[in-house]
Amino acid sequence: MGRPLVYKSPMPGLGLSMGITFTMLSIVVLLPIGALLLQGVNYGAEGVWATVNRERVWKALYLSFRLSFYAALFNLIFGVILAWVLARYRFPGHRILDAAVDLPFALPTAVAGIALTALYAPNGFFGASWTKTIAPALNAGLEYPEAALNALIMGLGFEPWTLQVPPRIAYSTLGIFIALVFVGLPFVARTVQPVIHEIEREVEEASATLGASRFHTLRRVIWPMLLPAALTGFALSLARAVGEYGSVIFIAGNKPLVTEIAPLLIVIQLEEFSYDGAAAIGIAMLVISFAMLLVINLIQVWSRRRIGYV
């Protein structure tokens, strides 16, 4: 007598809730992704590779993922601090600040992009001082370290690097970075905040009575508890930044090979009525995103095993 393959769950309501979940998930997520992959299958693996394996596409993908990673990293650090401040301290304007964190969710991305461009363009509020004073000063200061660094790496037989900052924030990679930080900020703050609320005071007090310094408590007690949530926030922020189009397009400058993001290449392919080409780049982004999310999930699993919490 063989055992049944699927045991009936003792929990009531499994069938109905599973049915609803799978139906909704299929319609909302799996169907569009399936359509994308199907377009790629029709195009053929060689076609997809031929579209993706071009310098301009690689550069755009590299730019998109690199800046998204930096932006998510920035949001990870800044978002945790922000969540900590919002969860632990009470101060005038606390509720306003708390509500303001969600604004990047609520604002249409094009509005955010135009507003950021207006601020960071060379004639904008922040952009003007950057272009006139900060960037020249930074570049003057960086001349010697750059020369020293390049003497070293050229001695090792590599191409010289540049440490110079761009003269403009808008229309350079800096501008893209700022836009991506803006759209991704709420993810980390909002995932970490409830966890900080959950941490019991007694845990910290116990740590202190056992003789741990404040920094030691932060590192060995608080941080391990925050890490899984922070990583989730990081992954969400990264995923959002990679696909972001609306706000970046206004501030990027969109120069091929320099400030051209991968989603714009998809739009360009569509503009040429090349649905296959668009699907090919979309699939490439999907694969890279999937790999990155997988790595982040593995880190989460590893951290949970190691710390044994959450």
Partner: protein, 401 residues
């Protein structure tokens, strides 16, 4: 008793929407207190002269009594409501004929004015006022929307190539461009330079744009119809001046710090963000910028060679639903060619054909210049893939050093 229960049940339901039906009958006194509190009769406690029972009915059944609006009001209300809905449904089919004109970005002002004039003309012809809508966006994106099912009856796009895309779906005949005069282009424009006041960099012609330190603003030819005209105009100048055109456009685009996706975006970058020394722009867009911002901040420079940009118009056969709509759409397009329509085009800084009704000032502002046409490039069917297709000359100029 059950009958009267259900009848009474309706009465308090009207006066007290939140009161449970069964309880309402048996608790008449409590209910009366609550009635006074309802929003419909505010402040009754403070006005003893007002009769709270006005318009209301009291129904007595044995020792039970209930009070509320008579049920007949409900029926009257329902009848009136249904009548309204039915009337609305009947009225819908007799509304005015509608028309959707799918256009490109810089024609907003032109079609706002033209539609007003056309509606007056159409009503004066003894027709009902039409409902004309215009949608604006990048020319290519607009064409794609129509390919994918946007029900436009009229297309007025930046490039014949974009309308060709729609024609490929069979929604309009392949020879659509022969249906109306002047290659179906009721108005034309060209590409000029918009420079900062006084032309501080001394830019006179295409060759000056590649001088050291000059920054050129143009949209991306991949995403903007207007930018393709810019690109081809630069190409034509280089050819006429004995330069390698591909080398020249490569050099030119090295001077472009920002490639916006559309013509309006580039104008914003140049005018509002103050980036760049020269904006390659539609002539109509350049004059519009002068009009909107004032001509003391910018000058228009006309190069020695430019291109005759022909934004064509077409009727989308496949989206015409009735003979009346066809009549309206045809009249709409023909009115573009009428002296009045042409005058509006002139007024909106387009180079139109028939100046008979136009303000002479609107016509005189256009200087003569050497204009090449898209036919010199072999038509859009050839120029589009050769220059702007995947791997075309525009892709070739962007290779890493």
């Amino acid at each position: 008793m059950t009958h009267s229960h259900s009848l009474f049940g309706l009465v308090p339901m009207l006066s007290l929407p939140r009161a449970p039906v069964a309880e309402a009958v048996t608790t008449a006194i409590q209910e009366k207190d609550m009635t006074i509190r309802t929003a419909r009769q505010p402040g009754l406690h403070h006005s003893p002269h007002h009769n709270p029972r006005e318009g209301r009915a009291t129904i007595l059944a044995g020792f039970r009594s209930s009070e509320g609006w008579p049920v007949s009001r409900l029926i009257r209300g329902a009848v009136a409501g249904i009548a309204l809905v039915v009337a609305g449904a009947l009225a819908a089919p007799v509304q005015a004929e509608s028309l959707l004109n799918v256009s490109y970005d810089p024609t907003r002002e032109l079609y706002r004015e033209f539609n007003e004039a056309f509606e007056k003309y159409w009503v004066a012809q003894g027709n009902e006022a039409p409902a004309i809508e215009v949608s604006h966006g990048g020319s290519g994106a607009q064409a794609r929307a129509v390919v994918e099912g946007l029900e436009a009856q009229v297309l007025t796009l930046a490039l014949a190539g974009d309308i060709d895309r729609v024609a490929e779906t069979g929604k309009l005949p392949a020879d659509w461009q022969t249906k109306l005069p002047h290659n179906s282009s009721p108005y034309t424009s060209t590409i000029v330079f918009l420079v900062r006041e006084g032309n501080p960099k001394g830019l006179k012609d295409w060759g000056d744009l590649v001088q050291e330190g000059v920054e050129v603003i143009t949209p991306n030819p991949k995403t903007s119809g207007g930018a393709r005209w810019n690109y081809l105009a630069a190409w034509a100048w280089a050819e006429k001046n004995g330069k390698d055109p591909k080398e020249f456009v490569k050099e030119l685009f090295e001077h472009v710090p920002v490639l916006d996706t559309g013509a309006r975006g580039s104008t914003t970058t140049f005018v509002q963000r103050e980036i760049g020394d020269v904006l390659l722009a539609w002539e109509n867009e350049a004059y519009l910028a002068l009009q909107e911002i004032g001509d003391d901040s910018f000058d228009i420079v006309v190069p020695s060679v430019s291109i005759l940009a022909e934004p064509p118009v077409a009727l989308v056969e496949g989206n015409i639903k009735s003979d009346e709509q066809r009549k309206l759409a045809e009249a709409y397009l023909n009115y573009l060619y009428s002296p009045e329509g042409q005058a509006i085009a002139f007024k909106n800084f387009y180079r139109a054909w028939d100046a008979s009704a136009a303000n002479p000032d609107d016509v005189a502002r256009f200087p003569e210049l050497d204009l090449v046409t898209i036919a010199d490039f072999g038509g859009w069917a050839k120029a589009q893939p050769e220059h702007f297709g995947d791997g075309g000359t525009f892709d070739q100029i962007y290779v890493a050093k």
